[in-house]
Amino acid sequence: MANTESLENVVLELRRGVIVLAALSQLGTEEYGYSLLKKLADLGLEVDQGTLYPLLRRLEAQGLLESVWKLEEARPRRYYVISAEGKKLLPKMKKEWAGIVSVMDKMLS
């Protein structure tokens, strides 16, 4: 029992770390909250709603994303897309990530 719980906690922590990068990388085209959630899930990254939606707002407040409300057939939706600032930073983040992956590969093999 305790074992599965601590395993879950570690997995959760690991995912939380990569969500920012995952979201930024997928927002080259604009997405609304739920469509981004599904896109990430389809690619294999299950993210908690309660984590992703507030995060999008935070990234916007930091200037990495831009957002706009659009009125569609079903309901108004808030669309997010990466900002100029975010585009500038994304390659650097990717490089950081590649560095972490190669180090961890070495460590874990």
Binding site: Y32, G33, Q49, G50, Y53, P54, R57, A74, R75, R77
Partner: protein, 319 residues
Amino acid sequence: MSLVDRYVAEVGRHLPGEQRADIEAEIRSNLEDMIEDSGEEKVHAVLKKFGDPELLARKYTQKKQYLIGRHWFEIYMEVLKRVLSVALPVSLLVWFFIKFAENSDNLTRVLIQSASASFNIGIHIWFWITMVFVFLEHSGEAPIELNGNAREWSPDLLPQLPKPRQISVGEGITDVIMTLGGVGLVAFSTSLLRVEDVSGNIPLLHPDLWKIWLPVFFGLAGLTLIHDLFKLKIGNWTPALTATNILLSLATIGYLLALVFTQDIVNPAFAAALKNGTPTQMQQSVTWSIWISIAIIIGCYLWSIVNSIVMAKRLPIKK
């Protein structure tokens, strides 16, 4: 859809006003997208996945949603206890004499009136001290975990180990508040300590005192305030602090004794304006209550002198 409405409203209840409408709209839109996808009958499950509304709201806001946090709470409680433990008994006593002078034949009523007047004073003190600490809490920088960006930190920023203090921060702040309170009481005495009469407001203090005696009081209080601030900063009864404490206390005691024995403190019109008894009786009664208050204050100063001398001998050894 009423369950969704209730969920969105519950999240909104925990959001600050200026962001509420926008975040509510976004959560609703996200929820409806997901419900549409999973089927109307799954509303319950979808909401469960979204989780506790209060937790969700907390992830959206980064504002402090408390009045006084851990950092200030202990000091706040100490100041409150110290100020109230002096102010309440003194005000009870003073009010007792004033009410007794007004209406000496009904002791129960006198007790109830003076207790409720002191209770009022206590509420005021509690309110204003709380306001001071709310300001301190919210004017400072947010705790690290609430800031999006970590501040620039280096080991040089580590606070010094707290030096041994004989005078706690709470005690120091209490002294400052008491001195300011005394100044405020006298400065606004024409509106605080007065009776109303057909001819208008009659202040308790003799009007002649404003010529020399009260300005001298303000001067002394100013020096005391400076002393209080140094006391708060230094935190120990160093020789210099002890010496100024003795000098200031003696000066204040001398001032109060001279005031009591050479001046008429009570406005004759004040006693005359009180309802019952002959003016001479009232004058005596009010004068007595002032003498007793001043005797208590002198007692406090004498205690302060003795205390500072004793503590100065036990000064923590400096490295």
